[in-house]
């Protein structure tokens, strides 16, 4: 597939801009044929890189849009170039604003906090002397997401292999579509279904695990029925399954034909082809897919809010997946109706800020893995 050719965008217009902007003699000082300028700036003909990662010498925001001729088209050209780069700048500004506003609103609450915001386990934000910390929220958020990952990633890899390597096209397409349907179901419906229908059915699994491995802190029984981190993790696993599957499918389908055929030619079985050619090739993609799923799991709000039972945070710290709790998102959602004083709201915004930083880091890392791979392939 022919990708965009940067020379096409630049050649006529860049030189045109130079002529318009420079004094007349400028043309004599730089007597290069038009087109050479564009070439020299490094056209990426046929490159598979996206525009976002194009190596470039200089920013040419909208400059390429000034037509060589002066006419009525010029204003419209400028307008579209300005509007579209303005929209791009708006997005950058938006993320900046999110950070700024969350920090501004969260800082007063954090400074007023009596105990350490990151390590305290209490949550008392109503009175004059707020005393709160996010440690339990952080723990539950991370634990529930990890449970979801442990359950979802292997299954997602299996499905991605099925779609890309095992099934014939007329089976693979419907299966891919059906898996995508999982992503289309609104999360509140997952939540309602998870707590009302799924939770009672998987309770025996939880009972069995805590009965046989209860001495492990992770599986300690807290006598919470249904609304446990375990149930939430299972539901989250279903919700992130389509994301991880989609990315896995994508990378597996790109395995070079030659690698696969070489493995076949060596007499490998189908599984050996996958283990020797497909999986090693797709590993970075899988890592980033799993991290995107993790990012989604960390921020999931309403399903978790409906499922998790709130528990008190006094007493010994609970490590168990068979306990209730609150994540960042569910803490905010549970108390959203009672945002009264700025100080109180600030505490929740501070919790939201930590969640934002967490998901930002995970997503940025995932993209970094993807992009680094792009540069090599």
């Amino acid at each position: 597939m022919p990708k965009r050719d940067s020379r096409m965008d630049r050649t006529p217009s860049d030189t045109g801009t130079a002529r318009l902007a420079d004094p007349p003699q400028a043309d004599f000082e730089h007597p290069e044929p038009s087109g050479a300028a564009g070439d020299r700036r490094g056209p990426v003909i046929g490159s598979s890189q996206s525009a976002g990662v194009l190596p470039d010498d200089e920013p040419v925001f909208g400059a390429g849009t000034l037509g060589g001729r002066i006419g009525p088209g010029r204003f419209a050209d400028r307008l579209l170039a300005g509007l579209s780069s303005g929209a791009g700048a708006f997005l950058v500004l938006l993320i900046g604003l999110v950070t700024v506003f969350l920090v501004i609103r969260a800082l007063p609450a954090i400074t007023a906090d009596k105990s350490n915001f990151l390590t305290a386990r209490s949550w008392d934000v109503g009175g004059d002397a707020p005393d709160f910390g996010v440690l339990p929220l952080l723990w539950v958020t991370v634990l529930i997401s990890l449970v979801a990952m442990v359950l979802a990633v292997p299954v997602a890899i299996g499905i991605a292999l099925f779609i890309s390597q095992y099934a014939p096209a007329r089976v693979a397409r419907p299966v891919a579509y059906v898996i995508d349907l999982l992503a289309a179901i609104p999360s509140i419906i997952y939540g309602v279904w998870g707590i009302a229908v799924l939770a009672p059915k998987i309770q025996p699994v939880a009972d069995w695990l805590s009965g046989h491995a209860g001495w492990v802190p992770l599986f300690k029984d807290y006598n919470v029925k249904g609304g446990t981190i375990f149930t939430g993790g299972v539901v989250l696993a279903v919700m992130i399954l389509p994301i991880v599957t989609a990315i896995g499918r994508d990378v597996f389908e790109r395995t070079p034909r030659a690698n696969i055929e070489a493995a076949w030619a060596l007499g490998a079985t189908h599984w050996e082809v996958i283990r020797l050619a497909v999986l090693p090739y797709g590993r970075p993609g899988l890592v980033s897919g799993a991290m995107l799923g993790l990012g989604r799991a960390l921020g999931e709000t309403i399903a978790i809010t409906l499922i998790l039972s709130k528990v008190s945070n006094t007493g010994a710290f609970s490590f168990s997946i068979f306990n209730g709790g609150e994540t960042f998102a569910s803490k905010i959602a549970n108390n959203a109706a009672e945002f009264n004083s700025p100080a109180q709201t600030g505490a929740y915004i501070a919790a939201g800020l930590v969640l934002f930083v967490l998901t930002f880091a995970v997503n940025a890392a995932a993209r970094w893995v993807v992009n680094r791979r792009k540069e090599f392939s």
Partner: protein
Amino acid sequence: MTSLTVPGPLAATPGSGWRKTKDRIATTVIYACVLVALVPLVWLLWTVVSRGLRGITGDGWFTGSQRGLTYRDAGGGALHAIVGTLEQVALCTVISVPIALLVAIYLVEYGRGPLARATTFMVDILTGIPSIVAALFIYAVFVTSFSGQRAGWLVSLALVMLMIPVVVRTTEEMLRLVPNELREASYALGVPKWKTIVKIVLPTAMSGIMTGIVLGVARVAGETAPLLVLVGYSPNDNNNLFSGPQGSLPGMIKDQFGNLGSTTILRGGHKVSVHYAADRMWAAALTLILLVMALNLLARLIASRSKVSS
């Protein structure tokens, strides 16, 4: 891939003995994965359809509201919720689509240098931003800083942040699929760049762009977190996006879920326990799923008529 090492002696037939067994196990596990994924999907859809069907086929579901109804009362409709959801999503779409299209055009047709890189990165970050954080941001700006009141339009603004990345991603992909020959032919005829984009590139990619928009709408229609933070739930009709609490389908599900309870009635001389709120909750869930699924099918339909394909 630097080297391929196949363990064990290579038999003439691909796989033998233990290797063959391993292959069989792997195949079984991989097929099982697909079945495992289908279980929750079928189970969930079956639950929602079987429990919600009676509700949405009942009298007045699409014409009435929940005004004054408790879990002890039967009936009532979801019109207030449907109207609220449609209004909020419509406003969100009207705001998001122009911005998202411009961003995609920028990234594909103009984007160079640090701003383009930053924009791509920000689209990625927006894709992963939790909806509750988007809601908190809108709250921090409009309610805390400008002391506004919670209302439906704030939800739309939060949804804009969630919808833009979806539309940008699909549109960007579609614009890249437009063959460069089309652009070059247009330039060769002396058509300026803006006209090439507006009259050649966009129309060619139009069905793909529509798909992206519809998918974006489907993505935000079921969002609940912004509703909790930015607007109160009202069981009454409120068609005004800009003031007062407003109903919505996710809000209605949440509301009914919070008021579950059973009541005993006499039916045919016997006392039976009925769950009106639960019935309405599943009916609202079914309505929402039907809405979202219809949008998804619409997206598929538009996509299948696409002029460009990958």
